[in-house]
Amino acid sequence: MFEKVWQQHVVTEPAGEPTILYIDLQLVHEVTSPQAFEGLRLSGRPLRHPERHVATVDHNVPTTSVADRLVIADQIANAQVSALRKNCADFGIELFDVQDADQGIVHMIGPELGLTKPGMTIVCGDSHTSTHGAFGALAFGIGTSEVEHVMATQTLPQSKPKSFLIQVEGGPNGSLPAGVTAKDIILEIIGRIGTDGATGYVIEYAGSAIRALSMEGRMTVCNMSIEAGARAGMIAPDETTFAYLNGHRFSPKGAAWDESVAHWRSLVTDPGASYDRELHIDATRLAPSVTWGTSPGMVTSIDASVPSLDQARTEADQKSFSRAYEYMGLRPGTPIQEIKVDAVFLGSCTNGRIEDLRAAAKVVNGYHVAGAVRAMVVPGSQAVKRQAEAEGLDRIFKSAGFEWREPGCSMCLGMNPDILSPGERCASTSNRNFEGRQGRGGRTHLLSPAMAAAAAITGHFTDVRTWNFKA
């Protein structure tokens, strides 16, 4: 599949230079674009295809209230959002602004609007662009110089990555054990191969457990491909993909829909295709995962303990472990379920979708957040927020003591006011547990939405497999 998508986008392969690859869609947000627009202005180059660009604001917008978002109190953040408005107007790019019904995290709105389609090449100045690979698109994050390159040429010079097949097999019909989710699959993979395990590769996820996942689950898996170092993650399109795509604003309609599906079907990997590397995962043996350290690869299961130094694979890893124990305020051997949390964050481009909120609400329903725990839900997009409110999920969260926020990236990276205080410990459905990621000195543990919800209720990490669901 990767091979086919790549070949269909080769503009030219000049001798001694990287391939010039055509880019079908560039997604734009406020943080990594201002210097790219400025570059175009300085060089006098036009933006070649405004219709292949779509923009939104997500990284630094406050999530507290609509009023707080229209004029951002943080002057520097406000200037950045204003710059995006001006740039989009000047260069003719459609912008889904804070007050727009379709605003959301850039990786949420691409699929929701039907902009993301199988077989496309998609880039964005954000590493979690790998999310869109769930549709069989080749999608990857780029830096600001490359953002400018795509604006000017609608292409990128690229050397071809290698291919990596990760086959995940589940139980009957691809089923996962109770309490195990797409998040646990990808955390297991990162724990297994390390945060540089897929550097230089595009991962293709296959196997019965992947086939059985919803599009939301597939997006969670592809989203965190970058956390294993991969250039991109991809899943071949199938009936689940087409059912999701049908009927969105920018999905083809009528006869064009049928013709499109026929093209998309042709992307499926031929049986017997070979890969540069393969990994097989038996998903029937997985348990809910929790990260304990300062890298997504420092992960263990809910029924385990903080690993000891001798479980580090290399000398360099030992140094990282020691540093992580200190930063995280944890001792090796501490059972994960004994670790108390101060904050819970439900959201992000990894787990801010409607299914994620449903899974968390199911755990929360009938309970209240533990004592001093600060818990918030930040839907990934306006569409998710509306849907959740229509289903009454907001009432479940609010009556349990969660804050119900406006959409954005929020505490996943803490560029807006949603941050942890030094030493504060957070159960987070996001994607990175780096030092200071959610606020200087903040301690992040990554887990699934249901597991985050359970931690919010009990005040410590809790095995959702033994949860007493009240509704």
Binding site: E146, K253, F434
Partner: protein
């Protein structure tokens, strides 16, 4: 982009693997819309004392705060340098602080690309070779390392000599300080032909006419 051929400099050792771009430049500095002025934000949190009465003051123990290492143009680190976020601000901060090269056993993909666009040489040596250089620069801050881009070698005056791989095109661009966009636009005829031949492929359009 500034061209670079041979670099001889002292080196600042950062003996840790998986140094992510959140550490290289924390998120609060990503709100700026300028392309310059990031040098003061490089390793912002690591450069400061985090706790106690002196919290916020420069941490004298951090390598970039040690006067002995000031002026170093080479950064030494362990495996998977630059992992995480795609923020090019990380490459800008490293370059604007004065580093022209990073030596490590491996680099994350997006950072690798960003570094190239900003004229930073990334020299990937073996774990053992990097350890040797880390030890020498830690023991002696005046230890000088030479990177010869043309010859693709890293050497010092104690007999260290190692080769590093580099894609010939990237090398050509670094040696000559070339602008990538200009290079791509040299192929504009091919691009026009590709777009013309592809114009009916609505199934790959973000916003097809028949939507």
């Amino acid at each position: 982009m500034q061209s670079i051929k041979i670099l001889t400099s002292t080196a600042a050792p950062l003996p840790l693997p998986n140094i992510d771009t959140d550490q290289i430049i924390p998120k609060q500095f990503l709100k700026r819309i300028e392309r310059t002025g990031y040098e003061d934000f490089l390793f912002y949190d690591w450069r400061r004392i985090q706790e106690g009465p002196d919290a916020g003051k420069p941490d004298p123990g951090f390598v970039l705060n040690k006067p002995d290492y000031s002026g170093a143009q080479i950064l030494l680190a362990e495996r998977n340098f630059g992992c995480g976020s795609s923020r090019e601000h990380a490459a800008w901060a490293i370059a604007q602080f004065g580093f022209r090269a990073v030596i490590a056993p491996s680099f994350a993909d997006i950072f690798f690309s960003n570094a190239g666009k900003n004229g930073i040489i990334l020299a990937a040596l073996s774990e053992a070779e990097v350890q040797t250089l880390l030890q020498r620069s830690t023991a002696n801050p005046k230890h000088r390392i030479t990177i010869n881009l043309e010859a693709q070698t890293v050497s010092d005056d104690q007999g260290f000599l190692a080769n590093f791989p580099i894609d010939p095109f990237r090398k050509h661009c670094l040696l000559n300080g070339l602008d990538d966009i200009g290079l791509t636009l040299l192929h504009e005829d091919k691009l026009n032909a590709f777009e013309s031949q592809r114009r009916h492929a609505f199934w790959l359009d973000p916003k097809p006419q028949n939507a």
